[in-house]
């Protein structure tokens, strides 16, 4: 769990120039990623995690769940992070756990962003009563503290599976990005290129799908990254306090077992520190990418080189 950073910074969402075809936008994003250091680091880290999640068996040779080894072994070449109290190889647990974490991150990220785009753009375009109602809904959800709410929901559901976790987080955390998307959709609504489309006689839906949404790509990508970040943090926090499914292999659940066995105090600190470090690194990757996108979208935020002025 951590604080919102990305997106909040640029209060006025930068409305970029109208996008060309989809290829154009991807090419621009690709170039931007390569030239911005933060984006490069973030992307590389993310790709590493994705690879680990896709091919865990290649990297870790032990089963994550079998208590096959002697407990409390230290770091060695056979056990890169040692074994835990139950004799499970910690490194395998983390490697296999990556999959669960990334699935949560991407599914929740996509679903939440999807809902946010839907509600945000609809509110901006339908206007009037619809806008008012959706706004109130969004604002209320924005203001209610999400983590305590999630705790309560998960508690009543007795923890439950990863699916419950995904559903709960998706249904509660779309409001922040919905607000941002609505704000940008509103500024775009009156831009000239849209007026031109209207004059051409294009239908509202066409305008929204083909002209507006592609122009908002950079903000939508940033929203996805924000939501994915929160998904990871919320989900692992819930798993950590025991509200996920303790039997799935995931970073949060590993932490849960570590805390249950007072790993810090009983001299097995790696059990607690290592999964947390993984969460931190993945979180940092998302955050860096998000920050980089902020800079790409709003050139005023880019790093400034102090210029040398010539003296006459």
């Amino acid at each position: 769990m951590a604080m919102p950073v990305s997106g909040v910074p640029t209060q006025t969402p930068a409305a970029p120039a109208p996008a060309g075809s989809g290829h154009h936008v991807l090419a621009r994003i690709g170039h931007a990623v390569r030239s911005n250091h933060k984006a490069t680091v973030g992307t590389v880290l993310l790709l590493i995690f994705i690879l680990i999640a896709l091919f865990p068996g290649v990297i870790a040779h032990d089963s994550p769940t079998q208590d096959a080894y002697a407990p409390n072994l230290g770091i060695s070449t056979a056990h890169l992070l040692g074994t835990n109290h139950y004799g499970q190889d910690l490194f395998s647990q983390l490697v296999y756990g990556t999959r669960n974490v990334l699935i949560i991150a991407f599914v929740v990220g996509l679903a939440t962003t999807g809902i946010a785009v839907l509600i945000g753009v609809a509110a901006a375009y339908l206007g009037g009563g619809w806008d008012g109602t959706l706004n109130v809904l969004t604002d209320v959800l924005l203001v209610i503290p999400l983590f305590p709410l999630l705790i309560i929901i998960a508690a009543y559901a007795h923890g439950g599976t990863t699916l419950v976790l995904i559903a709960a987080i998706t249904l509660t955390s779309w409001s922040y990005t919905a607000r941002q998307l609505r704000a940008q959709a509103l500024t775009l609504r009156n831009r000239d290129f849209l007026a031109a489309a209207r004059v051409r006689g294009e239908r509202q839906l066409y305008i929204i799908m083909v002209e507006v949404i592609p122009t908002m790509t950079s903000l939508i990508v940033a929203s996805f990254l924000t939501n994915a970040l929160y998904a990871v943090l919320f989900a692992s926090s819930l798993q950590f306090i025991g509200l996920g499914d303790p039997n799935t292999v995931s970073w949060g659940t590993t932490l849960y077992w570590a805390e249950n066995n007072a790993a810090l105090q009983t001299g097995e600190p790696l059990w607690a520190i290592a999964p947390g470090a993984c969460i931190a690194v993945l979180g940092a990757a998302f955050a860096l990418l998000n920050y980089a996108f902020d800079e790409i979208g709003n050139p005023a935020l880019r790093p400034v080189r102090k210029p040398r002025s010539k003296r006459a």
């Binding site: 400034v304 080189r305 102090k306 210029p307 040398r308 002025s309 010539k310 003296r311 006459a312």
Partner: protein
């Protein structure tokens, strides 16, 4: 013995330093302003006139930097001075009026508070003195001093502009630099504001540098006129002379775009094409792609400023000080 000019700008250049390289927005501009003189600077959007103005007032912000030249104000070169050193002349001797008062005034403090700020920055004045002076300058521009308590958003557009001018006159400086102060107003308000500015100028004797894109507006008020194009000075001389006999094809084009109400009816003539990109300006004379009088040497040779009578003009047609082919 001729008096030293109040302001002497020599070979001033301004670059925008970007990742991909520098773009020269103002290229080797030189001009002088004498005491009490009204100099108008005209040009299309993007020709560098506002950048020039900020460069003179040392108000550039990154990525814009002064890349060369000097700005001698009352004998001191302002280029390279720190903000602390500049505050000695700022507002007392040289003040600035910006285009949009809505953006140039602090939205969260009252007008009076902003006047007070300016005064306190340049001397020890009692509260009474400050209020008295603030009320005085507001009356000069025709605003009731009760508005010292108002916030910018509570005033009308015209009143805001005039209060900005009042603020610029707090210390009756020697030079007031104005960046299109009338552009945000309607035509009637524009005229009345211009008349007021001219009256104030004649009453208090300060010099004015007035940047605008509206040629017809400036022609009635300025003593001398400077025409800018693509970051360079294209013509500089006495306003009346330039209007009677414009030398540069660009100036001619600008004047032809404002036909007179009184003369014979003539078809409207614009200047074809668009202003050039300053990142890659045309070779030789920068105006040649749009010039109706361009000839074979124009793309090849970069013209200097040539003197024709009292006017300076950057055109190969006047290379020898007189029209030539």
């Amino acid at each position: 013995m001729p008096e030293l000019p109040l302001l002497e700008v020599t070979d001033l250049s301004v670059d925008y330093v970007l990742d991909q390289g520098s773009v020269r927005a103002v290229d080797d501009v030189s001009f002088t302003v004498d005491r009490g003189e009204f100099l108008g600077i005209v040009g299309e959007s993007g020709c560098g006139k506002s950048t020039l103005l900020f460069a003179v007032a040392q108000l550039l912000s990154p990525p814009a930097v002064v890349a060369g030249g000097s700005v001698l104000f009352q004998g001191t070169n302002l280029v390279g001075l720190t903000d602390d050193q500049l505050s000695a002349v700022r507002w007392r001797d040289m003040s600035v009026v910006m285009q949009s008062a809505m953006n140039a005034l602090n939205p969260v403090t009252s007008i009076g508070a902003q006047f007070k700020d300016a005064m306190r920055a340049h001397g020890k004045y009692s509260a009474g003195e400050i209020t008295a002076r603030s009320a005085e300058v507001l009356r000069m521009v025709g605003i009731d001093p009760v508005h010292l308590r108002s916030y910018p958003h509570q005033l009308s557009g015209g009143m805001r502009q005039r209060s900005m001018i009042a603020m610029a006159l707090l210390f009756t400086p020697d030079l007031v630099i104005m960046d299109e102060p009338t552009s945000a107003l309607d035509v009637v308000a524009q005229r009345s504001l211009m008349v007021q500015i001219k009256e104030l100028q004649q009453t208090f004797g300060f010099a004015v540098i007035f940047v605008t894109h509206d040629m017809s507006l400036i022609s009635h008020f300025s003593d001398r006129l400077m025409v800018m194009y693509a970051g360079q000075v294209d013509e500089l001389g006495v306003t009346r002379q330039i209007f009677d006999k414009p030398l540069h094809p660009y100036t001619q084009g600008l004047l032809e775009a404002f036909p007179s109400i009184h003369g014979p009816r003539v078809p409207l003539k614009g200047i074809p094409g668009n202003p050039p990109s300053l990142a890659s300006p045309p070779s030789g004379c920068r105006f040649h792609p749009r010039c109706p009088s361009a000839f074979d040497r124009c793309p090849a040779v970069t013209p200097d400023l040539y003197a024709v009578g009292g006017t300076l003009v950057r055109c190969l047609l006047h290379e020898n000080g007189s029209p030539s082919r």
